[in-house]
């Protein structure tokens, strides 16, 4: 499910022959080395997540190192255990590989839900304007006035420690960004000539909003979604690190792995290094692609 959703985001870019600008943007993007590297990192990350059972030599909760491990002897990388063993004698490489699934799932679901919520509010504000707009935007202002991570912690704590509460918390803190973005785009499109032309032949409000204004306002939202995937992955790791993620210790999750390793940092620094680098790679891929996508669609941002 997560893979197909990622692919849907990507293929939307490919198959929309809509407008000169989008075609041009796609052309620019395909020739951009940074975007390609970003895309490569994302593809790598997604493939690892999907084929985790084939890649990982051990199950995530298997303890091949049981008996060898003592609090002072946690073996580092070796030919048999590429990333070494963790404090419970589990294969660190297998756990990092399986951890990709959690990060991808949380990132994609949280972003999609946040985007859906933001789009709903944005369409409301952008389509009706006036009082509806004022009310919706004040709600969004209130949400934005609370620091994101603080709010996420509060929401996750309120919902209880689980993967779902992490997703919902991250989704909620991302709603205002999407709502504002879409509202601004839609309001700027509302006064355009083609909308006037459509109104002048009697087209009703709904087809004008959904058939004309929305398709012209969606590009920056797609860019924002790509960038939000990166922050969502980091935020998910952060919430898990704080103990708000899944309550099941057997489920490998990068943020939680970092938290678990704190006590052994002196004797086994590799346990912090590998999950940490995994988070960086996943987030970096989405950031690189997102930034370049933004520049490709809107040349104003180009440096």
């Amino acid at each position: 499910m997560s893979l197909s959703e990622i692919e849907a985001t990507e293929s939307e870019q490919v198959e929309q022959p809509a407008g000169n600008l989008r075609k041009e943007a796609w052309k620019r993007l395909r020739r951009d080395p940074v975007a390609l590297v970003g895309f490569g990192l994302i593809a790598f990350f997604v493939l690892v997540a999907v084929f985790a059972p084939l890649i990982a030599p051990y199950a995530p909760d298997a303890q091949p190192g049981r008996g060898i491990i003592t609090p002072t002897n946690i073996p580092g990388p070796s030919a048999e255990h590429w990333f070494g063993l963790d404090a419970s004698g589990r294969d660190e490489f297998s756990r990092v590989v399986y951890g990709a699934r959690q990060s991808l799932l949380v990132g994609v679901v949280a972003t999609l839900v946040g985007m859906a919520g933001g789009l709903l509010l944005g369409v409301l504000a952008g389509a009706f304007g006036g009082k509806v707009d004022a009310v919706v935007m004040r709600i969004v202002d209130v949400m934005l006035s609370i620091p994101g991570l603080l709010m996420a912690i509060a929401i996750a704590a309120l919902l209880g420690a689980s993967l779902w509460s992490v997703m919902i918390a991250i989704a909620i803190i991302n709603i205002p960004v999407f709502a504002r973005l879409l509202r601004g785009q839609m309001l700027s499109q509302r006064g355009s000539d083609y909308v006037l032309a459509a109104v002048s032949v009697g087209v009703r409000r709904r087809p004008i909003v959904f058939g004309h204004i929305l398709p012209n306002s969606i590009s920056p939202v797609i860019v924002q979604a790509t960038l939000t995937l990166a922050t969502a992955i980091i935020e998910a790791a952060g919430l898990s690190f704080l103990g708000l993620g899944s309550a099941d210790p057997r489920v490998p999750e990068w943020g939680r792995m970092l938290a678990d390793t704190q006590r052994y940092l002196a004797s086994a620094p590799h346990l912090a290094f590998f999950p940490g680098i995994a988070i960086v790679i996943a987030a970096l891929g989405f950031t690189m692609l997102g930034e370049r996508l933004r520049e490709a669609i809107d040349p104003k941002y180009r440096r």
Binding site: Q16, P17, A18, G19, N20, L21, R22, S192, D193, Y194, L196, A197, A198, V199, S200, V201, G202, V203, R204, P207, G211, H212, P215, N216
Partner: protein
């Protein structure tokens, strides 16, 4: 020029723009004109004369906030200004349609041409699917777009400016409206394309029997197309007449100036052009006198003492205290 009831009867239309903390601007001030079925009427004037605002007011397309519209716009006996919005939406596109100035921005860039044309048919004629597409292809063919079935799938950027204006005309004429308002339909086009589009409009109007309100600053277009001409200046009609009378004997100094400023092909090389002195920003407010007085060469003292009335005689209306006499040169 029949004696039937007017299709469109604009009575004392006024449009005022208000802004918080700014002065109010009266863009259209007591404009009246009628359009009979099948008639072609032109509103002529330079930028800022209120001709486009008049057309938007007739269509009910002005924003509601900060705009006050007064007077009456009777279409078939209904006042469009007080009609419920639903009824107005039914009338737009079906009975009255509009062609806009800029074909580059008046088509939605991310929606195929075909969808934009069929949308109108679906809305008003309850045509759907294959039937709507076939009708849309017919329409494109009628406005002179070659290979219409293929064009339906294309996006606006794949069409040239002239083709886009043709597509917009097809959209406007999709439901055979009885009144077409064309707001500077050729201003954004090449000169050669301009002639083609005007020719097309002329043909379509004749074929469908639609009345046409043509808004333009180009007297050349008016000469070839219109039955009646209303010359506007600073929001008011200053002279109205049949096309022949107006061109043969302009009475208002502004009309005379407009005609005189058109470069002539038969003039000797190097002959000076005859612009109207000043600019449209040099206006007097109508309640203080004639708005054109600061630029007028026929000005007399009475012109700046009070608003000149619109007087009608012999099929012509004129708002001038010291009009051009018949013997006066057209060149201002």
């Amino acid at each position: 020029m029949t004696s039937t009831e007017p299709l469109l009867d604009v009575r004392d239309l006024s449009v005022t723009f208000t802004r918080k903390g700014g002065p109010t601007v009266r863009a259209v001030d007591g404009v009246s004109f009628t359009v009979r079925p099948g008639e072609t009427v032109s509103l002529v004037g330079e930028s800022g004369s209120g001709k486009s605002v008049t057309s938007l007011a007739v269509m009910g397309l002005l924003p509601r906030r900060g705009v006050q519209v007064g007077g009456q716009v009777l279409f078939d006996g209904d006042d469009l200004l007080t009609l419920p919005r639903d009824r107005l939406r039914d009338i737009r596109g079906r009975d009255i349609a509009m062609v806009f100035q800029d074909p580059m921005s008046s088509l939605n860039p991310v929606v195929p041409i075909g969808v934009q044309v069929t949308e109108v048919l679906e809305r008003h004629q309850d045509l759907h699917g294959e039937k709507a597409r076939a009708a849309a292809a017919d329409l494109l063919a009628r406005v002179g777009i070659p290979d219409p079935t293929r064009r339906l799938k294309e996006y606006p950027h794949q069409l040239s400016g002239g083709m886009r204006q043709r597509a917009l005309i097809a959209m406007a004429l999709a439901c055979q409206p009885r009144l077409l308002i064309a707001d500077e339909p050729t201003t954004a086009l090449d000169v050669t394309i301009q002639a083609q589009i005007i020719e097309l409009l002329k043909e379509l109007v004749q074929d469908t029997g639609a009345a046409l309100v043509l808004i333009t600053h180009d007297l050349g277009i008016v000469a070839g197309l219109c039955d009646t001409v209303h010359v506007m200046y600073s929001g008011r009609v200053v002279e109205s007449a049949g096309r022949r009378e107006l061109f043969a004997r302009p009475r208002h100094p502004y009309t005379g100036g407009l005609l005189g400023s058109v470069p002539r092909l038969d003039a000797p090389r190097g002959a000076p052009l005859h612009p109207i002195p000043g600019s449209p920003t040099d206006v007097l407010r109508w309640d203080r006198g004639c708005a054109f007085a600061p630029r007028c060469q026929n000005r007399v003292d009475a012109c700046t003492e009070g608003p000149p009335p619109l007087e009608s005689y012999a099929g012509r209306s004129l708002r001038c205290l010291n009009p051009l006499t018949e013997s006066e040169e057209v060149s201002a």
